[in-house]
């Protein structure tokens, strides 16, 4: 419970503080802080599985009423296909909780880690490193 409240507080700070400074460059590790994972709960407005990056748009409730958009960036479409990630389980209109690595500079952006779906199941993406390891070992991808 405390963790949820803490995460919500972090989200609130991130969502409503300014943060438009340009990023240093374009790479997941440089732009997103994997050491500070956080949950974002909202209604799925859009799921765009595409290249060069997929994107889920969530409508997140603001503390003072109304909603704001939070963007979840994700791997490219081709990589998700190769990793057999069941992306179609994330449906527009569903309320989901997505665990993200927050952007280091933009308050309305995070990078996908896992998604808790309405039925309680957790959608995971093992990521490119796990995929590459599975190719190297000739085994099925696991995470």
């Amino acid at each position: 419970m405390n963790r949820t409240i803490a995460a919500a507080a972090v989200i609130a700070v991130l969502l409503f503080s300014s943060g438009e400074a340009g990023l240093a460059h374009h790479s997941v590790a440089a732009n997103f802080d994997a050491s500070k994972p956080m949950d974002v709960t909202g209604k799925v407005k859009e799921v765009a599985i595409r290249n060069p990056h997929s994107q889920i748009t969530l409508e997140v409730a603001k503390p003072d009423g109304g909603v704001t958009e939070f963007f979840v960036e994700w791997s490219d479409k081709n990589a998700l296909i190769r990793r057999s990630v069941p992306v179609d389980k994330i449906k527009v209109g569903d309320k989901v909780t997505i665990n993200v690595s927050p952007s280091r500079r933009l308050s309305n952006l995070g990078y996908f880690r896992t998604a808790q779906l309405p039925d309680g199941t957790v959608l995971r993406d093992c990521g490119f490193a796990a995929y590459r390891d599975s190719v190297q070992k000739g085994t099925k991808i696991t995470c």
Binding site: E20, G22, L23, A24, H25, H26, S27, A30, A48, R50, N51, P52, H53, Q55, F71, S75, D76, N78, A79, I81, R82, L106, N108, L109, F128, Y131, R132, V135, Q136, G138
Partner: protein
């Protein structure tokens, strides 16, 4: 006597060095990469310090900056297809389809654009050095060289690049050396190790600038 001569001829042929063509055909994914010998000139340092990915990164506009940048993208694989007179390298990232002629009498200057859709990537010509495919590229337009391995590296239109593709079982070593006196005090070396992707296929990338730019995350300008 004739029999002895034939035996000698067969033995001589068997012991002669075999110059086997590099077997690079297939689809490959990046295992690891590193950049060596990064020694920038003052002009290179200045540009790197001023580099701002939101404004300067061509990938944000779906333009492949360079082969070096394209190969640094971890997940999309590359495909090598060897033919008698050319090598085709199809990079999934940004749908880059490169054609490298292998004609001995052809110089890089005379070669056609390596990627017809992206003339800024220069002109390439290839040859085999034993087990290694060697590609020379010139005529690359001045601009960004890398935004991912080492972000903010630039190239001048004087740059000459030598790539060496060497197979090693299920891996392929690619060593890229950039000679560019405008921005680099010494040749810049980038090493990539690729892993064979069994039954791999190159998929369409189909990048759209409005979906690639970071501006989509920013509030609308007033």
């Amino acid at each position: 006597m004739l029999n002895i001569a034939i035996v000698f001829m067969v033995l001589a042929q068997a012991s002669a060095p075999v110059h086997k063509r590099a077997e690079l055909n297939g689809v490959w994914i990046l295992l690891r990469s590193n950049t060596e010998n990064l020694k920038l000139t003052p002009a290179g340092e200045k540009l790197r310090a001023a580099y701002d990915f939101q404004k300067d990164d061509p990938d944000m506009r779906c333009i492949p900056a360079s082969f070096t940048r394209v190969m640094h993208t971890p997940s999309p694989p590359i495909e090598v297809r060897q033919h008698q007179d050319r090598v085709e390298i199809n990079y999934e990232f940004m749908d880059v389809k490169r054609r490298v002629p292998l004609k001995a009498q052809l110089t890089a200057k005379q070669a056609p654009y390596a990627v017809s859709k992206h003339p800024h990537m220069g002109r390439s010509v290839g040859s085999y050095d034993g087990e290694t495919l060697v590609i020379e590229t010139i005529g690359q337009r001045a601009g960004i060289l890398d935004t991912l391995g080492v972000p903010g590296l630039y190239q001048s239109d004087q740059m000459r690049t030598i790539e060496r593709f060497t197979p090693n079982g299920d891996t392929m070593q690619v060593t890229v050396t950039h000679y560019d006196p405008v921005y680099y005090l010494e040749p810049l070396k980038v090493n990539y190790t690729y892993l064979r992707l069994p039954d791999g296929k190159i998929l369409k990338w189909d990048c759209k600038p409005e979906e690639a730019t970071y501006e989509r995350f920013l509030p609308p300008k007033k």
